[in-house]
Symmetry: none
Subunit: 200 residues, 4 copies
Amino acid sequence: MANQPKTAKQEAILHAAAQLFARQGYAATSMAQIAAAAGIGKGTTYAYFAGKEDLLLKVFQWHYGRMEDKLNVSIAALGGTASQRLTAMNDAIMTSWTEFKDLFGLVMEFWVASTTPRIRSHFQEAFRGGYQHFRQVVAALLEDGIARGEFDPTVDTKALAAVMVGSWDALLLQAWFDEGFDPLATSRVHMQVLLKGLAA
Amino acid sequence: MANQPKTAKQEAILHAAAQLFARQGYAATSMAQIAAAAGIGKGTTYAYFAGKEDLLLKVFQWHYGRMEDKLNVSIAALGGTASQRLTAMNDAIMTSWTEFKDLFGLVMEFWVASTTPRIRSHFQEAFRGGYQHFRQVVAALLEDGIARGEFDPTVDTKALAAVMVGSWDALLLQAWFDEGFDPLATSRVHMQVLLKGLAA
Amino acid sequence: MANQPKTAKQEAILHAAAQLFARQGYAATSMAQIAAAAGIGKGTTYAYFAGKEDLLLKVFQWHYGRMEDKLNVSIAALGGTASQRLTAMNDAIMTSWTEFKDLFGLVMEFWVASTTPRIRSHFQEAFRGGYQHFRQVVAALLEDGIARGEFDPTVDTKALAAVMVGSWDALLLQAWFDEGFDPLATSRVHMQVLLKGLAA
Amino acid sequence: MANQPKTAKQEAILHAAAQLFARQGYAATSMAQIAAAAGIGKGTTYAYFAGKEDLLLKVFQWHYGRMEDKLNVSIAALGGTASQRLTAMNDAIMTSWTEFKDLFGLVMEFWVASTTPRIRSHFQEAFRGGYQHFRQVVAALLEDGIARGEFDPTVDTKALAAVMVGSWDALLLQAWFDEGFDPLATSRVHMQVLLKGLAA
DNA sequence: CATGAATGAGGCTTCATTCAT
DNA sequence: GATGAATGAAGCCTCATTCAT
């Protein structure tokens, strides 16, 4: 899923599209707006992307790729106990998302894109794969913790991984609707309680 | 927020719209389709709803009201320890949602509707209020558990409530993308670990 | 052209329609509005009038009849020299129109109705007849003045009558666009100059 | 008020719209018809005009500008006594209008447009200004005649100017309804009588 | 007679996409 | 390659008119 944009222009379009989709929504964003924001002609977009739907998909893949990279890097850099590594990962993700908070609107657009029949297949598959990947990464950390004797070996690691991954979505979602909500602090509380409950 | 449809026809429209929005998405659904699905003329819809946006909002309020009612009923019926009540509530919600799983597409549409500038205010506010309400309900149960000496009194009940509420969204979301994913079982595992971590 | 409304309800509809056509224009007025303003049900209008176009025509005939009556009465009451009678008639008409100034919007609607292909025939004919009638009345007064030796016998009475009749339209039209314009005073100046130019 | 169309296509649209508005009326003319008559696609119109109302306004400004130009030219070319110049101007206007007689339907549409609430402001103001301009031009000629000792100095030049300007509207209006009516000849009679009545 | 709920034709407008320059 | 003028499908919505009650 490594779709790095080849041209600077291609990246400019992706960037503009991502911004606008996030801010106004996919439906409310016109190709003309994207082209204008990217500083190119209206027709040029079609030299790089097959159409509006394809552009959405490419924006998705682009962001997904960047997020995966970031996650892989931070995981690689992790050290210490499984608890520490889980906590570090949680922090890394919540922090990085909170940085460009408004880009979370994009994620919601991606979710909804999986509703529209014609686009569904692409996104549904991509999301399923993405969730499975992240769950697996987290589950591996949990299993590592079990192997090290940190965590209760009877716990269902897959299920717990799903909840942890889901909590990232869920807390950012609540932050989306509520300015006063602090997703990072909330997720830390969650981690603490979980780790306590997980203790061997 | 009790917006019960008065007329049978009004309800038929709401029903048709909800179905189609859930199945195809808001943008991909035309007013003509809704009218046809409701078995009425194209113009009749406008006698009951101000337009397409209004219809989405009313569908939202209708479903939200029904969900709130269901939650209130199930809470009222709860008994036993705080742990038991929390578990029962979690089960009730996950079960009821899993029943009409495809309606979850609607929720995603509502989320995204909060992105579109013109509709944003209505939905943003409604969702913020909704989340606050549900978090409060759960937090109250947690505090009750602390008062009863079941739970660790140092825990941040608000944060934990947010995570629990969020886990409903998050697990259903993953189930949306992955047929093989079992949100109810997963949430039960989550509850167990949480309750263990919460223990006084 | 005596189309007196038979029923009180019929007159109420005509009244409401006239008001609304004058205020908002024919196109911008809906049958629903007219019915509401007349205090009757939306369907009832069709028991008295064939449709919207017919209603416009009937409003026209109603007003035209009332104006003709008024003119005939004032002419009958006229006395004195031809100059005095012309002046009196001019004053009567300009005064009566200035009274319900906003109804002049109706006259413009009638003019334009003569543009729309399907309605054209009715209005075109009615207006042609109306103008011919008024021109004839004025021309008769002018010829009477000639017979009495007041006016220059070489003058083209028909042409002059047309101008006098036209000046009523024209000055009210300018008053329609310009609040500060005084059609009555202006028409009196016109009459004076005309009469001076007409003197035997 | 110099709104010359820049593109050939823009002018084609204006032309087509003017024709159709004049022939069928504004309300009875659809944007699709205009596009077809202009030989372009349905959507192209919106690249040049903001919408149907804007198109009407632009047609108005276009025609008004052309008429003003014509008037200014003919006035500049005038010579001789004030009486001769007034007569020449009267003839020039009536002649030029009679040439494209059917375009007079447009003027009526413009009048009525000043009735519709939302468009009113634009047209009302434009017409008020237009009338004031034309009255001023005529009044200046009359005052010139007074200065030259041709006309009675006690006459109200403004009022008379309003009547003269109005007579152009009024006589063309009557000609609109009556094929047999000769507005040019009629206006000449009017001028003669007026000039006689104006004589010093 | 009166009503007003229901209808559907028809209009305006938007916008993704194409293609000649 | 890049452009933006042009297109026309498609959607939302209004409203005159009908008809069962």
